[in-house]
């Protein structure tokens, strides 16, 4: 059965077809949510919300683009909006922490590559980070990214290039590892 037939069955209320559609796409949705959120509970929450919205709004899916493209548009919207809310909350917490730490001197431990990489990716602007993770880590094409984020393919390419440039600078201490 091809996907359009499966979608038609879901629309007609076939719960087995709903599960089949979910099974066909859940891995990619969850992986992307996890890569962006970095937290299993949040990734699960975002994945569930993505599918709940997708099933509720399946009637508005016209089939002009692939179902996966439509689904990933919902995924990125759910995840990025969710992360903005969490970030806002954590910022409040960080402000409180900063207020408590005035006058405290920290010694920065020498971080390893994994830690430095995490810091560098986390420090990227949201758009750069999203495109970088979707393309270089999860293997989405620029066309898929453009459709999911509602930007031109060229914008996706440019943001990826800028993300890599920023990471190259941030990880310059490890240059020996890629120049050999």
């Amino acid at each position: 059965m091809d996907e359009s037939q499966l979608i038609a069955r879901v629309r007609s209320g076939d719960s087995a077809a709903e599960r089949a559609l979910y099974d066909a796409h859940v891995d990619r949705v969850y992986r992307l949510a996890f890569r962006l959120a970095g937290d299993d509970a949040l990734a699960q929450d975002f994945t569930q919300e993505t599918f709940i919205r997708a099933f509720d709004r399946l009637g508005s899916f016209r089939g002009d683009a692939a179902f996966s493209t439509w689904l990933h548009t919902i995924t990125t919207t759910v995840v990025l909006n969710g992360l903005r809310k969490v970030k806002r909350f954590r910022q409040r917490e960080a402000d409180i922490d900063d207020a408590h730490e005035i006058g405290t001197v920290h010694r920065q431990a020498e971080p390893d590559l994994k830690v430095r990489l995490k810091q560098a990716i986390d420090a990227l602007p949201e758009g750069y980070r999203t495109v970088f993770l979707m393309h270089d880590v999860e293997g989405y094409t620029h066309e898929e990214i453009g459709a999911a984020l509602g930007v031109e393919t060229g914008t996706s390419k440019a943001q990826l290039s800028r993300a890599r440039a920023k990471l190259r600078v941030a990880l310059a201490d490890f240059a020996g590892e890629w120049t050999i």
């Binding site: 979910y22 859940v26 890569r35 699960q44 969490v86 590559l113 994994k114 290039s161 440039a165 990471l167």
Partner: protein, 225 residues
Amino acid sequence: MTDQHEDPKFEQWLKNVADSYHAPRTTPRDEMWAKIQHARRHKHIIELRPWMGWAVAAAAVLVLGIGIGRWTANQSDDGSRVATNGSTPSAVPGSTPVTREIDSLAGVAYRIAATQYLSRTEAFLTSFRTDANRSANTARLARQARGLLATTRLMLDSPAANDPRLRSLLEDLELVLMQIALLNPLEDGHDRDLINQGMNQSNVLPKLRSAIPAGPVSARTQGAL
């Protein structure tokens, strides 16, 4: 211009090392599917909750009552006019107010739903603050927060959220409830403090309380009617 720093060796190395960034575990398919099914059923149940059914029924009775009252009032007005003018009323008056009241029925029901929900959330957050030092209650609080979180999201998607002030409050509540829902029962002391500090900073409880009409819940509900 953006290609000037491209370096295939760096890009390949970056792809390799970045694979460890937020590396996902195996997809918990069945676990998430069960939650999706539950949430979809829950959404349906909320729409048909007994108190909402009561509210809608009560509002419908009220609307009908208003309509009949206005219709009979207009009838008697017309009757007096008949007596004075000596003519017969040609149309049944009162249809416009009835239509207007029916149009506002959905808004009334959502206001009642919002009042009930805000009252429950106020009670829950107050309880959370007073229980802040009792780690034994964490699992229960997280479970309750998840339930309220689901309702919050439904409220955000409902016409109740058309009010910008209510929407802003719901968004703040969603954030707080999400944090409580994610509390770890083993390591929660610091996290609880942070949530409480966040609530203090954003004035969630005062905003919540000011959004709820004064009086006990049942009276508030009736007040909305």
